[in-house]
């Protein structure tokens, strides 16, 4: 009851922040539309909708980090968190209460991306459903990044870290709209060491029906998701027990 009440509150806070919501769902769609428009005007295949869609879906998930980070940081920097910390809620109630409302939001965001892609010419197939499932560990990873940032940064800092750094990292280091092999060198090595490229690849393989190639990519994402969730729980619990929440 405690956790579900808190989760419902967080869902309402997120949904009622219309500007964030419109930007989070709308911006990836605009990028998808723009790149498709560019593709329609160039003779070579730069942005195939089949390659582009999982990339933009992963890029869009970076806004989920912004949502989760902002709500926690805003609670922390106001007296509302002080009020919550004097209530009998336990650490797990907070973690689940902040995480659960974001899962359907992430699924909705990925679905909107695929629906727009279908309108732009992506062929409807059962693999789209598989891609949605394959992208969910990435969604959990982004939620964990938000939880971690919200636990250690102020709302303004979260805006900088999740709103600028993470969205750019997700855009450039994920191979969402260009092949990282084309850049090569240190850039490629960094992209390979981070989870964003692997998340996009797993989504692409799922969408293309290359089932055997999904798990090696997904393992990276799941590993990062587990590690970041553990870090976020440690950071939040430490804040809960600190003298200065």
């Amino acid at each position: 009851m405690k956790m579900s009440s808190f989760a419902i509150r967080n869902a309402k806070e997120l949904i009622r922040d219309r500007l964030n919501l419109a930007f989070g769902i709308g911006f990836p769609v605009i990028v998808l539309l723009m790149l498709t428009l560019i593709q329609s005007n160039v003779p070579v295949e730069l942005f195939s909708i089949k390659n582009l869609t999982p990339g933009i879906a992963v890029f869009g998930l970076s806004f989920i980090s912004l949502f989760s980070g902002m709500i926690i940081a805003k609670d922390r920097t106001s007296s509302f968190m002080l009020r919550l910390f004097t209530s009998p809620m336990k650490a797990r109630d907070y973690i689940l209460g902040y995480t659960l409302p974001l899962i359907p939001m992430a699924a909705l965001q990925i679905s909107v991306c695929f629906i727009v892609a279908v309108l732009l010419g992506l062929e409807i197939s059962v693999n789209m459903l598989l891609a949605l499932i394959v992208l969910m560990p990435a969604a959990l990873m982004y939620i964990a990044i938000g939880l971690l940032c919200g636990s250690i940064f102020t709302d303004k800092q979260v805006g900088g870290v999740c709103g600028a750094l993470l969205t750019n990292g997700s855009a450039w280091l994920s191979g969402a709209w260009f092949d990282v092999d084309l850049v090569g060198g240190a850039f490629k090595a960094i992209a390979n060491a981070l989870p964003f490229l692997h998340a996009v690849n797993a989504g692409r393989y799922a969408l293309n029906g290359e089932y055997g190639r999904i798990m090696p990519e997904l393992a990276w994402v799941i590993g990062y998701a587990v590690a970041l969730t553990a870090l976020a729980i440690i950071a939040f619990t430490k804040k809960m027990n600190s003298d200065n929440p």
Partner: protein, 199 residues
């Protein structure tokens, strides 16, 4: 420390028999706090804020609705119950913040500077509410307004430089400091080196 936000570096304190060190969750179940800054969920309505407090203290939804209805009536919040908290005036937000602390029926309520920044009318209205609440529950109220302490408190503890310098009723403290009014008593007690106690 008594509201379990800070762990004592040594020693312990018990609230209604529950230790803040070994049973903080039990302590948190019987207390509530209204922080100095208004602490409300900005995008929730007044009703939703109150129901949220019931939910995070473990009440089922039926009980939460009943308690919310009663609190809205007791705190005269009917006209704003559907308004989002962030658009309310400072006075209404403060009233909601205190209502959120009282809805869980705590045995001990901590009010931190409840009337700070309120106009005279809003302050008097809150005093009326606090007077009514203290008939049923123990209230620990911190304030810098001496007339507020004198008007509301049955026992007053004066702290100076982080140390408790005197405890007693307003009359007892005036007698102790040999002062004609409470403000003079406060100044005298804070200015002295000696720790006074009056049971």
């Amino acid at each position: 420390m008594l509201s379990c936000l800070i762990r004592p570096s040594s020693g312990d304190a018990t609230l209604m028999g529950n230790s803040v060190v070994t049973s903080p969750i039990k302590v948190k179940e019987i207390i509530n706090v209204s922080p100095q800054e208004t602490a409300v969920a900005p995008n929730l309505s007044v009703r939703e804020n109150l129901e949220l407090m019931c939910g995070i203290y473990g009440y089922d939804s039926k009980t939460a609705r009943e308690k919310t209805g009663k609190t809205i009536k007791d705190f005269s919040l009917s006209e704003i119950e559907k308004s989002r908290a962030r658009i309310l005036s400072g006075g209404w937000q403060r009233r909601l913040s205190i209502a959120m602390a009282i809805i869980t029926e705590p045995e001990i309520l901590f009010l931190d500077e409840p009337t700070l920044g309120l106009d005279v009318l809003a302050r008097r209205e809150l005093w009326r509410i606090i007077e009514k609440m203290k008939e049923k529950i123990t209230i620990v109220l911190t304030t810098h307004y001496l007339e507020e302490a004198e008007a509301l408190a049955d026992r007053i503890a004066i702290m100076s430089r982080g140390k408790l310098v005197a405890v007693g009723t307003a009359e007892e403290l005036k007698t102790l400091a040999n002062a004609g009014n409470f403000e003079d008593a406060f100044v005298a007690l804070c200015g002295g080196e000696t720790t006074y106690e009056n049971e």
